[in-house]
Symmetry: C2
Subunit: 395 residues, 2 copies
């Protein structure tokens, strides 16, 4: 993998002993100058301590460092958890010589166990010493839990003749569902961007990417997408409603889309990624509702795993999506192979359809034929490995 | 298993070759006189042909026979499917010497394949000849698909000094979710009951039983709960709002509750049954919402399978249920073993909690501490066997 750098950002990823496996479990991201920040958080009512602290940090919208630990979610840990998250920020502030308020905390891992604060403290000290412009991938590795691979994506674009870089790293695997389930995502750019504009780009891009994926339909207590813009590129700050906002937004969305699809591909036990595309709906919301009903159906997902072109399960899921569809109008195809035509199952294409489902990625296209809107979501299959990983996570 | 009889009802359960396994796949239930009928159907927008025909039959509310085939759902089969369902009723009417309009059709099995009509026709002829007061269990066996065991329940009660019997048979296994997922249930009584009263008893009892269970969260295109009262007991017809309605309603609900819990216990791949009881909510609807979020969580269900007392996943599911809970008030216990107290995880009880989760059935009690209402739902665990059954259903 090519080296990833973003001017003005330094990184460290180390093992401080939170994970018993001795794998990397602490990441620090540091910007050489305070950066404009925008963030999205889990909509779960049960929010982990670092999310509560992070929400507080975003009131100001300026950050200079991020401290992420993996292996422990610091969730359901009460007031002690809040204190531990603040302590990590204080320690980072001390070592990086910045205000603790400029440090953003994140945690991911097991819920309900207090953070090992002494390990964190020593880890932050070590990471602060190791910060380097070249260690993006080390940090990207240190934020992982049951993930099988590092997930990063980059893009660049020209803002009034000046090239800027956008790079992102993501942690996913389990609890991936719409509205930011267990995912930690950090998007960094050297562009200068006004805060309202950065926020708008983040929200719009996330709606089309991270809010369109599902692995197990569960939503975590810790999800965070953070977007930092440090202005090292020297462009004049991108403003809300400008042409530059659109250009930067498109590049950012490309990064997020790549990370989102990688999150599904690295879902716990995933062997294939399916795009569920719904056409001919009255609204995007309706198309999403139908797509997610199909994408979250355990019966559909196990059929994908077994490469069984079981269109009946897809039709059943469309039927219970809570949308006023007309069954006799619906067409369904797998990468162009028609399996349902006007609501009636086509059995002659069964073998061709099964071949499509053996591909590592494919598109299920559902046409409702009662409107002009459409939407896609991305989902994984559901196989034995998901059960193995999740039935033995802690014990 | 003791013999089940309901005065005036005859049964047959035979193999007519729809299932390749040569197992029983055709059941006929016949009442010696027209019976008052009430029914509930799937709320899925995609309804199988027999459901569409059944809905039509219920306009009159009088039935004398039920023809059920397993192995083929006659769903997504278009106008041909409707014709095939009507043809089955005509054949049964001919052989039983009753109007086809008094015959109610049901199908369960694979979706999207036309019904093998010639096998059905010969099967109905054979079943009509074999009808017997003693063959309840044969019929209960013939309605099964991937079910591992026959599910029946009985009760009796006194209506103004006259003993009446209520007996039910159910088919479940997959696609079990709230609002009648793939389940076929036939409840029979020799009581005389006015139609409106029978309907009220059915709806009320189903709300507390069949609408409180979940196996995989999917909802089928074929679900049907049918309640027939043939009046052979000779009581004066039970009227809406009477004391007898309450007595008969309680006995009926006992039968339905027993069938509902058996449906979960026979869910595809189920190794244990968990009652998710939510207390201290503002309304029953809110308690159900929280209970179903927990009961449908794949992460919670795999933790049950692995006997992992992972309270974090339960807290996460409570948090995304869409109910305004206060995390810091929540208590969670497993058969009395406290795992979360005031929103904070208790780790000292981990081994005792794991022992509870190894039991074949247990109760997860969630106290929200912000109201006085409560509700229970029943769910299964999620293990390898579910994946095995569902990834290789057709191919």
């Amino acid at each position: 993998m090519a080296r990833v750098t973003v001017p003005g950002f330094k990184f460290a990823g180390i093992a401080c002993g939170i994970k018993k496996s001795r794998k990397k479990d602490l990441a620090v991201i540091f910007s050489e100058r305070p950066a404009t920040a925008a963030a999205l958080f889990t909509t779960n009512r049960v929010k982990a301590a670092p999310v509560l602290v992070g929400l507080k940090r975003m009131k100001r919208g300026v950050l200079q460092a991020v401290v992420v630990n993996s292996g422990n979610a610091n969730a359901c840990t009460g007031s002690q958890g809040l204190g531990d998250a603040e302590a990590a920020c204080r320690e980072a502030g001390l070592r990086l010589r910045i205000e603790p308020k400029l440090v953003f905390p994140s945690s991911t891992g097991v819920i309900g166990i207090p953070l090992p604060t002494e390990k964190m403290r020593r880890g932050i000290q070590e990471a602060a010493k190791k910060l380097s412009l070249k260690s993006f991938l080390h940090a990207a590795e240190a934020i992982l839990t049951t993930d099988r691979f590092v997930k990063v994506a980059t893009a660049s674009c020209l803002l009034k003749g000046r090239r800027v870089v956008i790079a992102g790293m993501a942690k996913g695997a389990g609890m991936i569902a719409p509205n930011l389930a267990t995912m930690l995502v950090y998007i960094l750019t050297d562009a200068a961007v006004e805060r309202r504009c950065l926020d708008a780009i983040l929200r719009r891009s996330a709606e089309e990417t991270f809010n369109r994926i599902t692995v197990d339909g569960d939503m975590s207590t810790n999800d965070t997408v953070l977007f930092l813009a440090n202005g090292f590129a020297g462009n004049s700050p991108v403003r809300r409603g400008s042409r530059e906002e659109r250009v930067l937004g498109q590049a950012t969305q490309r990064v997020m889309k790549e990370l989102a699809v990688k999150l599904v591909g690295d879902g716990e036990g995933t062997t294939k990624v399916a795009e569920i595309r719904v056409d001919g709906s009255r609204s995007v919301a309706e198309a999403k509702k139908v797509a997610f009903a199909v994408a979250n159906s355990k019966l559909v997902k196990t059929a994908f795993f077994g490469a069984d072109p079981n269109f009946g399960r897809i039709m059943a899921a469309i039927g219970y999506a809570g949308v006023g569809i007309q069954p006799e109008r619906i067409d369904v195809s797998f990468d162009g192979v028609i399996v349902v035509s006007k609501g009636v199952g086509i059995n002659s294409t069964e073998r061709a359809a099964a071949r499509v489902l053996r591909r590592p990625s494919f598109t299920v296209r559902i046409h409702l034929h009662h409107g002009k809107r459409f939407a896609s979501v991305w989902t994984s299959d559901l196989g034995y490995e998901y059960i193995r990983i999740n039935s033995a996570y802690r014990t």
